[in-house]
């Protein structure tokens, strides 16, 4: 397991986190357009992205958001137009056709369609990939048998595609992509045609490759929520722009806490996810004062785990637990913090700073209106986002 999935030992972890060292994909100001002249349609706008070795990253977004185009650029299947893109140490903005072909030999591609040769058996289809890194016949066959076995196809390797189910064919295609233990795997809805068990098997294999000695980087375009548990990060594209790039597990936990907030109920997943992406995670120890009554606050807190006690004028007011918020953004609401909050147990808190709060507001008018309406209609109450503690 990589360190991106654990944060209990950290005092603060940013959800919108840059890649770790050993970056294998580095995109900067990437633009891309189809057509020319009057028919020119730009699909990618100034995208920056860094993905490290051994990361499993989900790329998501609505249809036409540009994720497939970005994936094909990273996979050296298209030529770069604007910006810079470095993949596995190759500068794709300057790479020749031949260099692109060479780079692709280090990438495992998984497409929605299995595209298996109907004339070849499962193992022969997988062997088509091993031919790119010619080894001894025994070594190539061993690798094929091993990966097919891992994907639950040990008994079906001598069958033709016509004798396999849809899920089995897709797993053969996945085996073909992984058999050379590529440094990078690019997958387009790899689990779309798999049942729950097959999907779990494939995701475990991908996760193990990312965590294993090869530390394969995996970039998946998917809408399958089952994948989230196996991913390190989610990159969301909307309208050709990367709008979020968040640590998956933390983002999921933050979103779970955010949906408990009354004021955020009914907001779309993407809005919640965007708010989550601006938040950081803090761990507080028992007895620690988190906010103090009367002070000017510049942060809002949402309880992820643990219990805190709130005091007003030195008197116990109430207990705060999972899904409740406290703190104040004074600069925006021009009100001092109403309560002192002290951790009773070890706490995991999700924190939104003033600047990020403003950014989140600016990005979504519905969110801003909702906050304003709540503040105008009612005095700030506990449990209401951005209310006084």
């Amino acid at each position: 397991m990589t360190d991106t999935g654990t944060f209990s030992t950290l005092t603060s972890v940013a959800v919108m986190q840059p890649a770790r060292a050993d970056v294998v994909i580095r995109a900067a100001d990437v633009n891309y357009a189809y057509g020319s002249g009057e028919t020119r349609t730009q699909v990618l706008f100034d995208n920056d992205l860094e993905i490290s070795r051994g990361e499993v990253v989900i790329m998501t977004g609505p249809s036409g958001s540009g994720k497939s185009t970005l994936l094909t650029l990273i996979g050296a299947l298209r030529r770069m137009q604007e910006g810079s893109l470095e993949v596995l140490g190759h500068d794709l903005a300057r790479a020749t056709e031949r260099e692109q072909v060479e780079l692709r030999k280090n990438i495992g591609f998984i497409f929605q369609q299995h595209n298996l040769f109907s004339s070849l058996t499962a193992i022969e289809n997988v062997r088509m990939a091993t031919a790119l890194r010619r080894d001894s016949v025994q070594e190539m066959n061993n690798r094929c048998v091993e990966i097919l076995g891992k994907l639950g196809l040990g008994e079906r390797m001598n069958h033709l595609p016509a004798e396999l189910s849809g899920g089995q064919k897709q797993r053969v295609a996945i085996a073909r992509a992984l058999v050379n233990q590529p440094a990078l795997v690019l997958a387009d809805e790899p689990t779309a045609s798999l049942d729950a068990e097959g999907s779990q098997t494939v995701l475990e294999v991908l996760r193990n490759m990312a965590d294993g000695p090869t530390r394969t980087t995996v970039l998946l375009v998917t809408h399958d929520q089952r994948v989230i548990d196996h991913a390190d990060r989610i990159v969301s594209l909307v309208g050709g722009r990367i709008v979020t790039n968040s640590l998956t597990r933390i983002a999921v936990r933050i979103c779970r806490a955010l949906v408990q907030l009354e004021i955020l109920k009914g907001l779309s997943e993407s809005t919640l996810s965007r708010i989550a992406s601006y938040m950081t995670v803090e761990i507080r120890q028992p007895g620690e004062t988190i906010v103090r009554e009367g002070e000017e606050g510049d942060r809002v807190y949402v309880v992820g785990s643990g219990i805190a006690d709130a005091y007003v004028g030195g008197n116990f007011d109430e207990e705060l637990c999972f899904g409740e918020s406290f703190g104040m953004i004074s600069a925006y609401f021009k009100r001092p913090i109403r309560r002192t909050v002290i951790a009773r147990t070890t706490m995991e808190l999700y924190v939104l700073s003033k600047d990020d709060f403003l950014k989140a507001l600016a990005a979504d008018t519905s969110f801003e209106n909702r906050i304003r309406t709540a503040l105008m209609a009612n005095p700030p109450q506990p449990g209401v986002f951005a209310s006084g503690a």
Binding site: G75, V101, F109, F111, S119, M128, A177
Partner: protein
């Protein structure tokens, strides 16, 4: 069962669908058969045009300078041969008389007349390498006798038989025996008779004196080890300009060249071979293009994985070569049957040994390789990025 070193993708793709394979091989075999037959007819025609010349027993020939083909013979005076006899290397001279225009044989069945080629020789010279003629030279020397070609068209002359008596250009002739030579495009039958009998039927050829007799081919036999080219050159310079001196091989080549290149007959068969080649190209193209189209997703996947265009082209070309070999074998089998049938029906010398089977094999392979390379354009232009669309 584990795969061997090479995955035979081309062979598997070609043979996967047995019904399609049968149709593909049948189509290619049709083109191969067409080439075999056209080439066979061409060779048979050319061979038949020199069937008399190739049986002449000598090394050097003298012909009239105006003679361009034996089918339309021009003559020269016998005295030129006498002059040639003066050369020490020349050990023997034999005049051969050929009459193709004014010899008419009456069919004993219905009395109809049809033109026949008449060859006159000196029986004592043993100038023709035809076993039956060698055996019947004494009989041939008798007045008003001839030998007839048993392979002559029976529709024109009926069945020739020893003892048969009929009429040649108004002169009664008795057939003393038959021989097997074969017809050609210019004559439906052959007669061989002594020069003396020939002069009786065609007195114009006899001339006023022996020295004036109109020889068609003057055959010279020379000492073993003689430099034929040098002797030919010396003879040519010594003899008057109304004759041409050639080695027997040069004479044969000249006759073949005339029918092959000058007369339209050879060209027609050439065109037939070319048509067979073109038909084969179209059939192979259709077969291979259709197969590529059916597997375009699979090939695009290979391209995405890092297969170069050259490597993919090799797969299609190999498929073309396999198709060529299968089509060739099937076409060869059919052609052999047709050769036998046509030979029995027409007497034309059709057989495999005269047909350059390796040349046809080469043409078949070139045909399929070119078609494969052309069909592969679709494959080479496929954009693997579309797989992510």
């Amino acid at each position: 069962m584990l795969p061997r070193l090479i995955i035979p993708l081309a062979w598997r793709n070609l043979t996967e669908n047995k019904r399609r394979l049968l149709a593909s091989v049948a189509g290619t075999a049709f083109a191969v058969t067409l080439m075999f037959m056209e080439n066979g007819f061409r060779h048979a025609m050319l061979d038949s045009m020199v069937n008399v010349i190739e049986r002449l027993d000598g090394q050097i020939v003298i012909i009239s300078r105006t003679l361009y083909s034996l089918a339309d013979p021009y003559h020269f005076p016998y005295r030129r041969m006498v002059q040639a006899r003066e050369f020490p290397e020349v050990t023997g001279i034999s005049p051969v008389y050929v009459e193709t225009q004014s010899g008419y044989w009456r069919d004993v069945r219905d009395g109809s007349l049809d033109r026949i080629c008449v060859v006159g020789i000196r029986p004592e010279d043993d100038v023709l390498n035809i076993d039956e003629v060698k055996e019947q030279r004494a009989a041939l020397d008798r007045p008003d006798t001839a030998m007839a070609d048993a392979l002559s068209r029976s529709a024109s002359f009926g069945e020739f038989a020893a003892g048969q008596v009929s009429e040649l250009s108004g002169h009664t002739i008795k057939l003393v025996a038959t021989f097997k030579l074969g017809i050609n495009s210019q004559s439906n039958g052959n007669l061989i008779m002594s020069d003396r009998n020939l002069f009786r039927v065609f007195p114009d050829l006899a001339g006023r004196t022996e020295g004036d007799s109109a020889v068609t081919v003057g055959l010279l036999r020379v000492r073993p080890g003689t430099d034929l080219i040098a002797l030919r050159a010396r003879l040519q310079s010594a003899l008057p300009a109304d004759v041409r001196v050639l080695t027997l091989e040069e004479f044969m080549a000249k006759e073949r060249d005339f029918w092959d290149k000058v007369a339209p007959v050879g060209t027609v068969f050439y065109i037939g071979v070319v048509m067979g080649f073109i038909v084969g190209c179209v059939i192979c193209y259709q077969v291979l293009f259709s197969d590529i189209s059916d597997r375009i997703g699979e090939f695009a996947t290979l391209k995405a994985m890092g297969y170069s265009n050259l490597r993919l082209l090799r797969v299609v070309v190999m498929q073309g070569i396999y198709l060529a070999l299968l089509g060739y074998l099937a076409g060869l089998a059919v052609s052999l049957l047709l050769f036998r049938w046509v030979h029995e029906a027409t007497g034309l010398p059709l057989d495999l040994s005269r047909n350059n089977p390796l040349a046809i094999l080469g043409l078949s392979v070139i045909m399929c390789v070119l078609s494969g390379a052309y069909a592969a354009r679709k494959l080479l232009s496929v954009d693997p990025a579309q797989l992510f669309a």
